[in-house]
């Protein structure tokens, strides 16, 4: 009956009569209008609170206790876990690694994604083919990505070392060094996410009015100038969105270091690529939940600070039309 709804004038007479018939019908109508929104939101919120919100908040409670899975007693220890975390050199090592990998992967990725989106934002043939190819790495699972790149970055039979040897470079043990392992892990992240971010930026670029470019072309502005002075300022909100989501993602890097080191929870022998997420996992596997929760909260704190800094940076530098 709703299908013929658009021709509204024909509809009213019948229900007008209906609604005047008070009592049960009217009451039921009221209950429906008032109550049903809650009925539709409730299933979502019940599940969301139980498995989404509650765990988030409960982490804070756990972090204030000496909490291991093996004991039934969980004594309250105040901020002891946090003071222990701050004095733990492994924690700062993991923080350094996370930041290093984060910067190495996000910064070039963002520039590359903007540039790619700019190239795709032209009347191209086989547009869909390019887009599908670019998103293909994102469809590949993290585990698959690490397995594939684990071979490429292999010391003995790795594809990359072979290519480098053609240029006379010696064998590199990518996993052994801090710098080399960070480069390898960042490459995996970049490979998986650049295309995805490029498409999001492309979506924003397509919403920029064409006339701006036409006017700029008439004024003789070069392609690069148009990108810098029109496109980037116009899509700034989306750039900020991409930067912040990438930051949140980069702070949680987990599968890459774990599997790159063939399941080493320490991220290599000297912890040279143990990230914060991996450090949390290490403490989780030792069943030290209180400590792991404290690290989680520290990580969350870092995310807020870094996302905030990034927000300020991106909204500043691109803001003035230099």
């Amino acid at each position: 009956m709703a299908t013929r709804a658009p021709d509204r004038p024909t509809a009213p007479p019948r229900p007008a009569g209906k609604r005047r018939r008070f009592n049960g019908r009217h009451w039921r109508y009221q209950a429906d209008v008032k109550g049903s929104p809650y009925a539709y939101v409730t299933p979502f919120f019940l599940l969301f609170c139980a498995f989404g919100l509650f765990p988030l908040l409960y982490t804070a409670w756990v972090s204030l206790h000496e909490w291991t899975l093996l004991q039934d007693e969980h004594p309250f220890v105040g901020l002891d876990n946090f003071t222990a975390v701050v004095q733990d050199s492994y924690f700062w090592n993991a923080t350094f690694n996370t930041l290093s990998i984060g910067i190495l992967s996000t910064a070039p990725q963002l520039l590359l994604a903007i540039w790619l989106a700019h190239l795709l934002n032209r009347p191209l043939r086989s547009q869909t083919l390019f887009r599908v190819t670019l998103l293909l790495p994102n469809v590949t699972s993290v585990v698959a990505v690490v397995v594939i790149f684990g071979q490429i970055f292999g010391r003995d039979f790795g594809l990359l070392n072979w290519v480098l040897s053609l240029f006379g470079a010696g064998e590199i043990d990518w996993r052994a060094g801090t710098g080399t392992s960070h480069i390898a892990i960042s490459t995996m992240i970049m490979w998986r996410w650049t295309g995805y971010n490029a498409l999001i930026l492309l979506a924003a670029m397509q919403a920029v009015p064409r006339e701006l470019y036409e006017a700029a072309t008439i004024d003789g502005a070069s392609n690069m100038t148009q990108l810098r002075k029109i496109t980037i300022p116009m899509i700034r909100p989306t750039i900020i969105f991409v930067v912040i989501t990438s930051t949140i993602g980069a702070m949680q890097i987990f599968a890459e270091p774990l599997l790159f080191g063939a399941y080493s929870v320490t991220g290599g022998q000297d912890r040279q690529y143990q990230t914060l997420a991996l450090f949390i996992y290490e403490n989780f596997t030792r069943l030290d939940f209180g400590y792991a929760s404290a690290i989680s909260w520290m990580m969350f704190l870092f995310i807020i600070v870094i996302a905030g800094i990034n927000f300020l940076l991106t909204s500043r530098t691109k803001g003035d039309l230099r």
């Binding site: 009956m1 509204r8 969301f48 293909l136 790495p137 949140i248």
Partner: protein, 273 residues
């Protein structure tokens, strides 16, 4: 003249990028279809060989891969359907119905999208221990039934795509709210819900950290089984990559067929973000 040259350069660059994007995938197929001895050669093999099915057979002998596939299909499928359903209902209420506390609830939902999921993982694990769901796929399905992104996505879509007049007309025709949902909202939501379903399926299929935490190697998902292969048989690249190819193939096929819609969905969802 200059413009034509610029376009040629654009095509060349894009083709170069596409090449480097596809190269690792191609090379993984090459490795997966060879044997380990061939890998040790210099130069390494650059075209596929004939050992693919042999390697696949070894994957099935080493890890319970069939069970892993079944688990992944069940988990990803049920999560996708549930997220589509619950998100459409809640999205409709948020987008088109008026009720007390609507803005606050929507704010909480959107706000948690920015919170890293890692933060809640430990209590969630403790909850699963309490429910005695560890080691079973319930531990993956139940927490996955709803997510904030889905509700946000459907709210965005329905507030744009569902004309309020249509709903009013339905009401005037004597439709109950449920009648509206059934006859107006669900049909209108279908395109966006399909995209959401595909994205959710992909994410659930590729999820790794949470399944690794709650499942055992005896009852794994595809990703957990793959990581067992990758970690336990470090130097057996051939088998690891054969398993990877097999575990990735279903998604790549789906993506190749429906890629256009998925891309459309990602780009649509992003503009408002």
């Amino acid at each position: 003249m200059r413009a034509a040259k610029g376009m040629r350069l654009t095509y060349l660059t894009l083709m170069g990028v596409a090449f480097f994007t596809a190269l690792p995938l191609y090379f993984s197929i090459v490795v997966a279809s060879r044997d380990n001895a061939a890998l040790a050669q210099v130069p390494p093999p650059l075209i596929p060989g004939a050992n693919f099915f042999e390697n696949i057979a070894r994957v099935f002998e080493t890890v319970p891969f069939a069970l892993a596939m079944l688990n992944s299909v069940i988990v990803s499928g049920s999560i996708a359907v549930a997220v589509m359903f619950f998100s459409t209902l809640a999205g409709f209420a948020f987008a088109k119905l008026r009720f007390r506390g609507r803005n606050a609830l929507l704010l909480i939902t959107v706000g948690t999208m920015m919170v890293p999921s890692l933060l809640g993982m430990i209590p969630l694990y403790m909850l699963m221990v309490k429910l005695e769901w560890t080691g079973s796929i319930y531990a993956l399905i139940v927490p996955g039934l709803v997510n904030a992104f889905g509700v946000f996505f459907m709210t965005q879509y329905l507030s744009r795509a569902l004309p309020t007049e249509l709903l009013e007309a339905g009401r005037v025709d004597g439709c109950t709210t449920w009648g509206l949902v059934w006859h107006v909202v669900f049909p209108a939501a279908r395109p966006a819900a399909a995209v959401l379903g595909m994205l959710t399926f992909m994410n659930a299929w590729n999820d790794y950290m949470w399944p690794l935490l709650v499942l055992t190697p005896e009852n794994p998902t595809v990703q957990v089984a793959l990581s067992t292969l990758a970690a336990g048989y470090v130097n057996d690249y051939v088998m690891g990559l054969a398993g990877t190819a097999l575990g990735t193939l279903p998604l790549v096929i789906v993506f190749a067929l429906l890629g256009k819609h998925i891309i459309g969905g990602i780009m649509q969802g992003a503009v408002k973000g």
